[in-house]
């Protein structure tokens, strides 16, 4: 590989005639010391199996957990005197009354009226009109059909509730996020500071901040809005900030030399030129908000997440299926609409956009039609309350029948696969990691961190492991770590196979990429439904859910990385007569190593962030602890400890993989930079915007 890889751009070129550079210290492959560490670990495990594992039975708690619970109770008790609590409570009240006001406008009865101010016909008409105004008639049709499907399938109120939560959150995110984005885009120092915070926010598995949010904002609407906001803020700040920063210097200089002020530069040059990227950021933020608002069902947030969660809890696939599909419909609708709006705004800004007069007429006619619909929906009760159809229930029953048939027919195959992975991969690894004495695993993990990531990774992992030990959930943490690793291995296998295939064959790429994009648009909750149906509640189900969630991002990263290998290098290799296999293993993969490490990093974090959701379907360990903590007030402390432990695991895995990427000396600046512009969820069809 060293013979084919070109000198990285970062290394200084040697002047002709100068001394040849000293040969670099050839480092021993890191896999050899890693194998030694694992060997010693296995020996220690065989000698000491089952001792000092710090296992804690499912419902047991330790003093520390109880102290945390007490702390929670004290805080709750002091909510009338503690200024912080008073502040968060007033915000909470504000958010709740805002939500309820919007709800009375469009979905629930607004006393003394028996129906909302605007009935379903009016709401559908307004939504359709918005689609028409910001995008085009095709989007308008899509929006109209989506809204009708919400009602026809019997989830009108839940759908609108979810939309309201998403909408309020996104609105607040824009108000808070755009100034931050401008700061990120215009000041190097602010960019650095804010990026650190955003990194932290995004490394954190989505679920973990639900617990503290509940503590300060109570359960229900306000917790849903606040946690959605926290989750949805980073993409906007990052992407919009990136867009502003990337406005060409030439343009800034040229317009500066005309004597513009700071504000003129911002509003006449930077924001208009970054418009397209800003809307992409908005698109990402909206989808992130939708997925978090769905998950907020855990904290009793309103919306479609509730029926899905209820269905999952009682293992009723059919009941979870219909609202699950509606979440997908909503995600697709929001994604398409914002994307089309972005394209349209760009076209209009560059003089396209078709016949202006014709469009004005269309908008005027549409506007009148909408007003008429709103009036009718205020006048006739049948147009105000969505009629009840039974089709949703019938679909649920039908799905259950189909699922029964599938499980009875293919149960053998899926079961065999499940047993294979469980027996040969999951169980041995779990024995080694979780059933070794805690100090053995502690030292072994730290040693591996040192081997792969050097001193920096060692320090981070020591800190994180100590933290994990401190929170009294060592054994559960090790089980979760095992599942995360197994899932990541599966993710990487998929990523390598499909990534290389996509990179080498354009047709495959064109075929698969839209599926991956769609996969990334769907809120993670929804994956669980079919996976649960196929595999029943178990550790393996949680792993599969994690794999399904993480695979699209990892596959795309690998595909883009392999595709990024310079064609000249590949041609040069081919001219030496290499086989396809040699080409892949000796040229493409080594040169794309940066992307592979990045894909692993993302895979780990994505999988880990599914831990809690996995806890719902029999994953046990930390995920279950968090879920248990939500449901029992006396176990709140244990839930919090489990949440913090998940974060510590995430930070540790993130630091190790990042450090491993930095230790590598032969990758260019490209993939490493991608770490700093990392996005939480995929960036449909346009990753290069981030990397260039």
């Amino acid at each position: 590989m060293t013979t084919t890889a070109p000198a990285p751009a970062v290394r200084k070129p040697v002047e002709p005639g100068a001394e040849p550079p000293p040969p670099e210290r050839s480092s021993v492959s890191r896999w050899i010391p890693a194998a030694v560490v694992i060997g010693v670990w296995i020996v220690a495990y065989l000698l000491l199996e089952g001792t000092d594992t710090l296992a804690l039975p499912g419902v047991a708690r330790t003093d520390l957990h109880d102290r945390l619970t007490e702390f929670n109770n004290d805080l709750l008790a002091s909510r009338d005197t503690n200024p912080v609590m008073q502040f968060t409570n007033s915000i909470s009240d504000l958010l709740r009354s805002l939500f309820e006001w919007v709800q009375r406008m469009i979905v629930v009865p607004n006393p003394p009226r028996p129906v909302p101010e605007i009935g379903w016909l009016g709401v559908v008409a307004i939504a359709t009109y918005i689609g028409l105004a910001i995008a085009n008639w095709r989007i308008a049709v899509l929006v109209c059909l989506s809204f009708l499907s919400f009602g026809v399938l019997g989830y009108w109120q839940d759908s609108l509730d979810l939309l309201i939560v998403t909408g309020i959150s996104v609105a607040i995110v824009i108000v808070l996020g755009m100034p931050l984005a401008v700061l990120v885009g215009t000041s190097t120092r602010a960019n650095r500071a804010i990026t650190v915070v955003l990194d932290l926010m995004q490394t954190m598995p989505t679920f973990v901040y639900l617990l503290p949010v509940v503590l300060f904002f109570g359960i229900g609407v306000s917790a849903a809005v606040v946690s959605t906001m926290i989750y949805a803020l980073p993409p906007l700040v990052r992407i919009a900030g990136f867009g502003i920063r990337e406005v060409p210097t030439a343009t800034i200089e040229a317009t500066d030399s005309a004597g513009q002020t700071y504000w003129q530069r911002l509003f006449k040059v930077q924001l208009p030129m970054a418009r397209k990227t800003i809307i992409v950021g908005l698109n990402q933020t909206t989808l992130a908000a939708l997925s978090m608002a769905t998950l907020a069902a855990f904290v009793n947030g309103p919306g479609l997440g509730k029926p899905v969660l209820a269905g999952l809890r009682i293992n009723d696939v059919g009941a979870a299926f219909v609202p699950g599909v509606l979440i997908v419909v909503m995600a697709v609708m929001l994604d398409r609409t914002t994307t089309a709006a972005s394209e349209r705004s760009e076209k209009v800004a560059r003089g396209g956009g078709g016949n202006v007069r014709q469009r004005r007429v269309l908008l005027a006619v549409g506007g009148v039609g909408t007003l008429v619909a709103v009036y009718l929906s205020r006048t006739y009760i049948g147009l105000a309350e969505f009629p009840v159809y039974t089709i949703g229930d019938r679909i649920a029953t039908w799905v259950n029948d189909v699922m029964d048939w599938v499980t009875s027919t293919f149960g053998g195959i899926t079961g065999a696969f499940k047993d294979l992975v469980t027996t040969w991969l999951l169980n041995p690894m779990q024995s080694l990691i979780a059933d070794s004495p805690w100090y053995v695993s502690f030292v072994a993990i730290a040693a591996l961190a040192f081997v792969f990531g050097g001193a920096r990774a060692l320090v981070s992992s020591l800190v994180c492991l100590t933290g994990i030990w401190f929170f009294d959930l060592w054994h559960d943490a090790m089980i979760t770590l095992t599942m995360t690793l197994v899932a990541t291995v599966l993710v990487m296998v998929l990523a390598l196979v499909f990534g290389v295939w996509m990179a080498r064959d354009r047709k495959v790429d064109l075929g698969i990429r839209p599926l991956l994009d769609a996969g990334q648009t769907i809120p993670p909750f929804v994956y669980l439904i079919p996976v649960l149906a196929l595999f029943g509640p178990s550790r393996f189900t949680a792993i599969v859910a994690g794999v399904v969630y993480a695979a699209p991002a990892a596959i795309k990263l690998v595909a883009d990385g392999v595709k990024g290998v310079s064609p000249t290098t590949i041609e040069a290799g081919r001219s030496t007569g290499q086989t396809t296999w040699q080409e892949i293993t000796k040229v493409q993969l080594p040169m794309a190593k940066g992307s592979l490490v990045l894909a692993t990093n993302q895979g780990l974090l994505y999988v880990l962030s599914m831990t809690v959701i996995g806890g719902l379907v029999g994953a046990g360990a930390l995920g279950y602890d968090v879920v248990y903590g939500f449901s029992r007030s006396e176990a709140w402390g244990k839930g919090l400890a489990a949440g913090i432990t998940i974060v510590l695991l995430g930070v540790m895995l993130d630091r190790i993989t990042r450090a491993a990427a930095d230790v590598r000396r032969d990758d260019g600046p490209g993939p490493r930079r991608a770490f700093h512009t990392r996005l939480p969820i995929g960036f449909p069809g346009d990753r290069k915007v981030v990397e260039t």
Partner: protein, 342 residues
């Protein structure tokens, strides 16, 4: 020269940490590479002083990395100078406050850039009017003014187009129009035609010559192309490693290169196209005929060739009525032949 349109005195730009500490110490005399090794600082512009007369076309020329683009940005403080002064029409730019500087940029000096720097989301007319817009000129008025300028640079009919619908040459015409729209006293050009095809570049150079003749603006023109410098410049400043190597008129630079660096530069130039009779004339020999035709001393050698061949007597080189020297066929052939041989 108190009447200079632009006066630059002792201008320095050093990039890097604590760059202001370098000037005045022995370190400032180090070569670029040595200074970089010793302090981590990079010299962009090193102790540059010059004056530009009103109405003059002053060309700054150098290879890439010579600091010429930095120099032109220091003139309006798009890059802040480390030390030294820039005075424009008696106004010291380097001492101006933020708002004063903005005033100067709005009214007195504008700039044309290599990569155009147009706003893709605005029509040509609004790009041209941008300078007027930031000054607060009303929409109707600025569009009317911009329309005139669009006509002046030969873009009539393209007012409503967007920049990416135009070719590179046309985009640069928009850049030129934008610079002219504010009716500044001085125009700065930063390698404006480097990104254009050779033929279009020639058109644009002629356009600049035409505009200069029609409008008489003072111009500072940055280029790395010697033929462009010789074609446009009343005077040429040659830079190397941030410092001035030579300042002079085109024929001076070609006839008397200040050092081997400049000599190397001008070696390929067809001298007969640049040199004037000043550089080839000589004292009349005793008894030599003084009955030949008279030509002014500023005549280019090439243009004098025909007259020299046609005449049996040496040509008299005059400045007004004063006889400065003579040139005969042989003197002129020597310039032309030397060119062939080199």
């Amino acid at each position: 020269m108190t009447t200079a349109a632009l006066s630059v005195d002792g201008l320095w730009k050093i990039f890097g940490p604590r760059s202001d500490r370098v000037i005045g110490t022995p370190d400032a005399e180090l070569s670029r590479a040595d200074l970089k090794a010793k302090t981590g600082n990079v010299v962009g512009v090193k102790d540059v002083s010059f004056d530009v007369a009103p109405g003059e076309v002053f060309v700054v020329m150098g290879l890439s990395g010579s600091g010429k683009s930095t120099l032109v940005r220091l003139l309006t403080r798009l890059i802040e100078p480390t030390s030294g002064s820039v005075t424009l029409n008696g106004e010291e730019i380097t001492a101006a406050s933020e708002s004063k500087l903005r005033e100067i940029r709005r009214h007195q000096v504008s700039m044309v850039f290599q990569h155009f720097g147009l706003l893709p989301h605005r029509q040509v007319i609004d790009n041209v009017a941008y300078g007027l817009e930031v000054r607060g000129v009303g929409k109707k008025e600025r569009r009317a003014k911009a329309g005139e300028i669009v006509d002046l640079v030969g873009l009539t009919g393209y007012e409503k187009s967007y920049p990416d619908q135009l070719s590179g040459g046309m985009q640069q015409r928009v850049g030129l129009a934008r610079a002219l729209a504010g009716d500044p006293e001085m125009l700065l050009f930063d390698e404006p035609f480097s990104a254009l095809d050779p033929l279009i570049r020639r058109d644009m150079q002629n356009e600049v010559i035409r505009l200069h003749r029609e409008l008489g603006k003072t111009m500072v023109f940055i280029t790395h192309d010697l033929s462009e410098a010789l074609k446009l410049g009343d005077r040429i400043l040659i830079m190397r490693d941030g410092a001035i190597v030579q300042i002079g008129s085109p024929d001076e630079v070609v006839a008397r290169p200040a050092d081997d660096y400049v000599k190397d530069f001008v070696s390929e130039v067809p001298k007969s196209h640049v040199l004037t009779l000043k550089w080839v004339m000589r004292e009349p020999r005793p008894g030599e005929s003084l009955e030949g035709p008279a030509l002014p001393v500023t005549t280019i050698v090439r243009q004098a060739a025909r007259a020299a061949i046609a005449s049996e007597h040496p040509i008299r080189v005059v400045d007004g009525d004063e006889l400065l020297g003579v040139v005969d066929e042989e003197d002129i052939m020597r310039v032309v032949v030397a060119e062939e041989e080199s």
